[in-house]
């Protein structure tokens, strides 16, 4: 029954089963030669559609502001302005006057501007997306009048769509939606990132074959294998329905022989906090502050950053929140910062190099915000510096932190002690782990970058994808060396790359001596269960052998025996 299975790209390693609700399909324009058009009636239809669209946008704006935040809701303001744009209105009215049906006139009026914006870069191209959203909304209202309200779907719905925009995904309620699949999109599309952050089963990029699935059909969304299974049998249905992953473990976990391992969440946007708590995170092992700086035109103020960190600390009153200071450069571009074109951006001015250089003012502001939040928030804050390669850089960053603390004290505010740490992402940092650890409380290994730099293999380059695997002995030795050197200095060691969230590698990582593992919320229950099943003494022996292996296949043989 292979024809029941459609293949796409899995966005999240989870399965769900539910009933198909198509979103935004079947917009087919009438053939103007087939319909007799009454311009006056078409004009009224258009005006009514604009009114209804305006009401929809206003209520979605309100709901999004409440659920996600005011910044995310601002996209709806632009949509309302495009909806009311006199250029569009005049063009539509002219075409209706010439005998076009309203939907065709709308399609043509928007189409011209969408094309115009599409050809431009960055910000202008985003306007094309906005216009497309508004056009599709009007066309839906004009062609069938029915509307699927994404914020109010029946329990157990699986949403199928051509694509899901940011404003669409912001409305999906993970408590009710069993998953989604889209015709277009890849692992890094907005919808995929959203699915991962909310642990929602999702398959993207299925292609046009998806369109054959009818509304009301039962499907399994397997976000792990990237498959959409139509009309599952009882066994398949039960397997997918029971895949809430492993049971959520709320308490902290230890190995069978009593070694405590902290299991924490990586957070890249506020919407990820709730799933992290729900899936049993002990705390936050990596809070990426970049999201505070993205999708805006100027940097966030000290108070804005304070509020965001404070909220996170209050979300984990008994836990630790490791906040990484601004880590831009490399593949991360922020339009309002003056980032130079570099021949090798991954080997260029990024992370702490910018914070100690062109972004030193931003860095000072961020450190003050962090220290103020630490004094007022419930949980324990830890501050972590990214991309450190030398002890000198770390000393300079620590000086900046002292200056920020002195600034705050001058304003008669409280300064509390916070843990300070360094990310180990460069081979130099791994070699210098002892000296770095002697100056801080912890190290956190970022395996994505560390693997890239140890193996000299670009993580985005598929031609060397085979080399980009942290289970190569070269990377394992860097990890082993880092952990051993840090422990000699009484520093604890965490890991916050993709590797930390792979339950198949949990035993190895515990055996290598990692004290903390931090990952996307979705795999936390599996990893917690894997830690509880691990015997540290055995794992440690195996890990010692694994890191001494000569090849990756020898590593895996060691782990399997």
């Amino acid at each position: 029954m292979a024809d029941r299975t459609l293949h796409g790209t899995g966005a999240t390693p989870r399965s769900g089963v539910g009933t198909v609700v198509w979103y935004g399909r079947d917009i087919s324009l009438p053939d103007p030669d087939d319909v007799k058009v009454d311009p006056e009636a078409e004009g009224r239809r258009f005006a009514n559609a604009v009114d209804t669209a305006r009401e929809e946008l206003a209520s979605e704006r309100e709901a999004t502001a409440e659920r996600v935040g005011e910044d995310e809701a601002a996209v709806f303001d632009a949509h309302i302005q495009f909806l009311e744009d006199p250029t569009i209105e005049e063009a539509v009215e002219t075409m209706i006057g010439e005998g076009q049906p309203a939907p065709n006139a709308v399609d043509a009026a928007f189409g011209e501007h969408i094309e115009q914006f599409e050809g431009m870069d960055g910000r202008m191209a985003e306007r094309a997306d906005d216009l497309r959203d508004v056009r599709d909304r009007l066309l839906r209202l004009l062609t069938d009048g029915e509307r699927v309200d994404l914020g109010d779907l029946p329990d157990g719905s699986v949403v199928l769509a051509e694509r899901l925009t940011p404003s669409d995904t912001a409305q999906l309620d993970p408590d009710r939606v069993a998953g989604f699949a889209t015709v277009t999109g890849g692992r890094t599309s907005h919808a995929s990132i959203f699915a991962r952050s909310l642990a929602l089963p999702a398959v993207v990029g299925v292609g046009e074959a998806l369109e054959a699935i009818e509304d009301g059909t039962e499907v399994v969304i397997d976000g792990d294998s990237g498959e959409v299974l139509v009309a599952p049998d009882d066994t398949e249905r039960a397997a997918a329905a029971s895949d809430s992953g492993a049971a959520v473990v709320d308490a902290s976990v230890e190995t069978t022989d009593g070694r405590h391992v902290e299991v924490a969440a990586n957070i890249g946007q506020p919407a990820e906090l709730k799933p992290a708590v729900e899936r049993g995170a002990d705390g936050v092992g990596l809070y990426r502050t970049e999201f505070l700086f993205l999708d805006r035109e100027t940097p966030p103020s000290e108070d804005e950053q304070y509020e965001a960190i404070r909220e996170t600390l209050d979300t984990f009153p008994d836990g630790r929140v490791v906040v990484r200071t601004l880590d831009i450069g490399g593949d991360k571009q922020i339009p309002y910062l003056d980032q130079p074109d570099e021949e090798n951006p991954f080997l260029g001015e990024r992370g702490i190099r910018r914070s100690l250089g062109p972004d030193s003012d931003l860095f000072a502001t961020q450190l003050r915000a962090l220290l103020r939040a630490a004094a007022d928030g419930a949980g324990d804050l830890a501050i972590m510096f990214p991309m450190v390669a030398t002890v000198t850089e770390l000393d300079a960053a620590l000086d900046a932190l002292d200056t920020a603390a002195a600034d705050i004290e001058e304003c008669d505010a409280d300064v509390v002690d916070v843990e300070v740490g360094v990310m180990i992402e460069t081979p130099s940092a791994a070699f210098m782990a002892g000296e770095l650890a002697a100056r801080v409380d912890f190290l956190s290994i970022g395996t994505n970058d560390l693997t890239q730099y140890v193996m000299a293999a670009d993580r985005e380059n598929e031609r060397v994808g085979d080399l980009h695997d942290p289970s190569h002995p070269g990377v394992l030795r860097a990890i082993h060396r880092t952990v051993t050197a840090a422990h000699e200095e009484d520093a604890w060691v965490g890991m916050c790359g993709e590797m930390a969230g792979d339950p198949d590698l949990t035993e190895l990582l515990v055996g290598l001596g990692l004290d903390e593992l931090s990952m996307s919320a979705v795999t936390i229950p599996e990893v917690k269960t894997a830690v509880s099943d691990t015997e540290y003494s055995t794992a440690s022996e195996r890990a010692d052998r694994a890191q001494l292996a000569a090849t990756r296949s020898e590593v895996h043989t060691t782990l399997d025996t």
Binding site: A74, D77, A78, Q81, F82, E84, D85, P86, T87, I88, H113, Q116, F117, M120, R123, M124, R127, L131, E297, T298, S301, Y336
Partner: protein
């Protein structure tokens, strides 16, 4: 009454995103007909988000504003305020 003014744009985003939104909103909140454009170019309808955004006006660029109507001075004052306020300080509810 027709009045004309040329303003140098201060927000870092130029006439994009929130500043553009505030600009178009302010035009719609007044009676006067407003057109805008680069000093050496054609003028477009200032009430159109599409037209305003398409101008591609950046920080430091000059923009010429022409208003015709009873509250022409008032609308230009308001537009000048929006165009000369750094974005972080722009209070969009005030417009």
């Amino acid at each position: 009454m027709t009045v004309e003014r040329t303003v140098t744009v201060v927000p870092e985003a130029g006439l994009h995103a929130r500043p553009a939104s505030a600009f178009v909103q302010a035009v719609n909140d007044h009676e006067a007909e407003v057109s805008a454009g680069r000093p050496d170019g054609d003028l477009v309808q200032a009430a159109s988000m599409i037209a305003i955004t398409s101008l591609g006006v950046g920080q430091g660029d000059d923009i010429k504003l022409v208003a015709d109507g009873p509250d022409a001075e008032a609308v230009l004052d308001e537009l000048e305020r929006i165009l000369t306020t750094p974005e972080g300080e722009l209070d969009t509810d005030d417009g």
